[in-house]
Amino acid sequence: MYIYRLVFLLVLAIYIFSPNILDWWTSPENAWYSPYVIWGGLIAIGFWLEWRRDPNEF
C-alpha cells in the first residue's frame, strides 16, 4: 500500500497547485498551443509507461 500513498500524495499536490500550473502553461509569453504541447507530453509519458509495463503487473 506504500506506493499508493505516495501516488495519493502526488495527486493531491498536483491538484492543489493545478491552477498555478495552468497559469504557467497559459502565460501570455507562450504560444497559444503550449498547454496542448505539455498535455501531449504527459500523454506520451503515459503511453511509454503503459508500453513498458509488465502485462502481469496491476
Binding site: 501516488v7 498535455w39 500523454i43 503487473e57
Partner: protein, 987 residues
Amino acid sequence: MSFSATGLLTASLLYLIVLFGIAWGTERGTILRRWVRHPVIYTLSLGVYAGIWAVYGAIGMAADSGYGFLAYYLGISGAFLLAPVLLNPILRIGRAYQLTSLADLFAYRYRSQWAGTLVTLCSAAAILALLSMQIQAVSVSASLLAPDASPKVISVMFSLTVVLFTMLFGARRHQSSGNHQGLVLAIAFDSLVKVAALLVLGGVILFNVFGGTNGLEEWLTETSHPEATMAMAINDGSWRALLLMSFAAALVLPHMYHMTFSENPSPRALAKASWGLPLYLLLIGLPVPLIVWGGQALLVDAPPAFFSIGVAQALDSPALTLLMYIAGLSAASGLMIVSTLALSGMVLNHVVLPLKTPRDQGDIYRWLQWVKRLLIAVILFLALLFHETIGRHLDLAILGAISLSGTLQLLPGALGVIYWPEGNRRGLIAGLVTGLLIWLVTMVLPFSVAADILSWMKLPITPGYDNWHLFTFISLTANISVFALFSIISPASPEETSAAQACSMGALSRPQRRELLAASSNEFVQQLAEPLGIRVARREVERALSQLKLPNVEFRPYQLRRLRDQVEINLSGLLGPAVARDIVKRHLGFKPLTHGGTGQDIRYVERALGDYQNQLTGLAGELDNLRRHYRQTLQNLPIPACSVGEDGEILMWNHAMESLTNISAEEVVGAKLLALPEHWHALLDDFNRGDELHRYKHRLDLRGKPHWLNLHKAALSGPDHPEGGSIILVEDQTETRLLEDELMHSERLASVGRLAAGVAHEIGNPVTGISSLAQNLKLETDDPSILETADQIQQQTRRISTILQSLMNFARTGNHAHANRYEPVVLHRCVNESINLLSLSDKGLGIRFVNECPPDLQVLGDEQRLVQVFINLLANARDASPDGGTILVSGKADGYSAIIEVVDEGSGIPADQLDHIFEPFYTTKAPNQGTGLGLSLVYSIIEEHYGNIQVESPSGPESSRGTCVRLRLPAYEPEAETGNSRPNERS
C-alpha cells in the same frame, strides 16, 4: 443561413439511421463485429464522456473564462493516466463479481441494499440534469439552424429516437460476452464524428478565417485584450471544482462507469485507453480556442456556447453547418443512450428488484428485459419532463455543475472501495445523505426552483453562478467527514469486512470453510428452483458448472462452495448483487455452526494466491516464494501425507499419497474423507477420529496384495493456527514386513541346521560302531547269507554316513570367518578333481564330462569347498542327463569376475520349481536319491566366496532342454611381476 425544419429533421433521422445500421450490423455478426473488441473502439466509445460539452459547453466556457475549460478534460485524463491504481482495481472487482454499475459495486462492497438504492437515486437525480443539458443543446442548436422549428417537437422527436435505440440495442446483452457490442460500436462512431467535425471546423477557421498560423498570430497580437485572447486569469475555485468533478467522473458518472467497466473487452484495452482517452480529449479540446477566436473574428452573434454552429453559418457553408449540428446531435445522443441504459440497469437492480423479485415468472430473462425497456422509457420521459419544466430555463454550465457535483458525492465511497477497508455501510450512508442534503439545499433547489433556503436562514452567503464551487466543496467535505467519523465509531459486520477485503487493493478474501446444506449440484438446482423456477435454476447452475470446468454433478464441498460463489456472481450480473446475494443466502444456505468457528478455506486462498503469482513483488513476493517452497517440500515428501480439516475435509494430499492410493489430489482435495474409496475412508476416518496418535502395521489389502501401513497423526492447532485439523502420515511398511518374514524364515532354517548338525554328530558314532561290527561279522563267518546281510548293513551305514556328512556340511556353512584363509584356486583343476571323484561312482557311466575352463582362470577361495560345489553341480547334471549325454563346464573372465557355466543336456527344471531349488531339503529326486541339501550347500559356499549363482532352464534360447548353472565369482589376478612393489607400498 437557415434550414427548413423538415430538412433538419430528415438529416437528424438519417444520421440516427446510420447509427442504427452500425449497431444492427454488429449485432448480426457482420464484419463490424471484429472491430468491437479492438482497444481503439473501446477508447473511442469512452469519448461518450465529452457529450455536448465537447461541441458547445467547452466553447462557451472558453469564451467566458479562457483555458479554464480544460479542467473538464484534464481531470478525467488524470484519472485515466492513473488507471493502474484507480481504474484497474475497480475493473478487477467488477469482472470478478459481475458488478455492472456503481450501485452494484457499492451494494456488494458495503453489503447494503440501501447503499445501492441511495447511489441509484443520487445518480438518477444527477443524470436528469445531464440529460436535460443534452436535450437543451440539441433543441437550441436546431432552433438556431431552423428558426421556424418548434424546440418542443425537436426535443420530443429526439428523445423518442434515443428511447427506441436504447430499447433495441441496450436492453439485451450479448449471451457470450455480456457486452452490448452494437451499442459500443455505435457510440465509438459517435465519438469519431464529434472529433472529426471539430477538427475540420478548427482547420477551416485556421486556414480560411486567419489564413494559417501566421495570420492567427498576427490577429492575436492585434487583439490584445484578455477576453479575446483567452488569457484571463483562471478562477482557482471553479477550476479546482471542475477538475475534481471531472476526475471523479471516471468512476462515478453512470455512463462512464458503464462504458469503462461494463463494456470493457479486456484489461489490455483499459491499459491502452489510459493514454488513448487523454489523447482523444486533447484532439477534441484542441480546436476550442480556434473556434472561440473564429467566432470573435467573424463577429458571430450566436451565444458563445453555440459558436461552432455560428461560425459555420458565418462561413456560409451549409455542409459545415450541418456537420456541426450532426456532431452535436451525435454527442448528445451517445451520452443520452449510455446514461439512460446505465441508469435503467441501476434502477432495475436497486429499486425494482428489491421491491418485486420476479417469482413465478415463466421466463425471468424476458421479464428482466421488458422491465428494463420500460425503465428506459420512463427515465427519458422524466428527463424530458425535467427539461421542459426546469432544465430549459437554466444555463448549460450550471446544469453540468449541478449534475457533476451531485455525482461527486459518490467519490468518497468509490475510493473507499479500493483504498479504505475500514469504511463501512453506516459511514457511507450517513456521509452520502449529508452530502446529498447539502447539495440539494445549496445547488439543486436554488438554481432549479429558486428556493434559496440559505437566504431564508439569513446566512451571509447565498449560492450564485460565481460561487457554486464553494458549495460543491462544502458538501463533499461534510460527506467525507461524516463517512470517516461514522465508519470509525461504528462496527462493521464480518460479512462486510470480508467484502471489504475482497475489494481492497492487494487483499485476498479469506472465506470461511463451512458446509453447505446442499450436498450436490443437483440439490442446488432444486433449492434455486423456488425463487427462479426450475428452468432458470438449472440453466444457471449448469452455466456456473461449465464456467468452473466441473463435472455435470458435483459433490465435493470445496467445489460446491466455489459453485455457490459462481452462481451468486452470475445472478449478480442478472439481478444485481443485493438481490443475488439475498437469493443465494436464503436458498443456498450453510449448515449451522456446531461449535465456535470454522477454518479458513485454505485451498481457496491458495488458489487466489496462485492467480496473483506474477503480481506479488517485494516482501509479498518473497513470502510467496517461501510458501511455494514449503508447499513443494510437503508435496514432494517421499512419505505419503495428507492434512484434514476439523470437519473431515481433505486439505492436502501429496504426491506420495497419490501414488500409494492411486487417487489424484485433484479428485479428493476439498472433498470429505467420506468421499474416498471404502477401505481408505474406513482407515483414515477411523484413525483421524480416534485418540491414538500412532497406529503400527495396519494391514490393508490393495489391488489384491496385502500392505502393511504405519499411521502417524499430529494435530495442526497451535498458537498460530487456532482452527484445528490434523496431518496424517502414512508409512508403507510392506517391504520391511516382507524382509522381516524372510529373516524369521532364515532364522528358523538356521536353527534346524544347527539341530541337524548336533543330531548328525550324535548318530555318527553309533553308526560307525555298527559299520565296524558288520565288518567283524564278515570276518567271522563264511555263511553266504550272513555275509550278504553284513554287506547290506555296511551299505546302509555308508548311506547314513553320507547323509550325516551332508547335514554337517550344511550346518557348517554361513560362516564367513574362513575368508581370511582363502588362497588362489585354479578352477580348471577344481573341475578336473570333481570329475575324477564323480567317475569313481558307478552311476552315469555313459555320461561324458568336458572341462573347458581356461587353466589361467583363478579365484580366491577354499579349494576343497569349491570342489564340493562342482561335485554337487556335476552330480545333479549327471543325474538329470540322459545316457550318453555331455556335460560341459566352461569358464571365462569378465572384468573382475570369473564366470563358470555348467551346462547339461538333461530334462531341465520346470519354471515353477526354479524359485525353490536353493531351499534346504527341497528335492525333485526320488526319496532315496537325494537329501535336498546339495544346491542349498552350493548356494551357501558361493555366497561365502562373495559370488552369486544363476540357473537357466532351458539352457539356451535355441534349445528346449538342458540346464545352465552360471557361477560368478570374483576373479583372482596374480601380480604381473612379484619383484616390483607399488609406489605407495612400503619396501
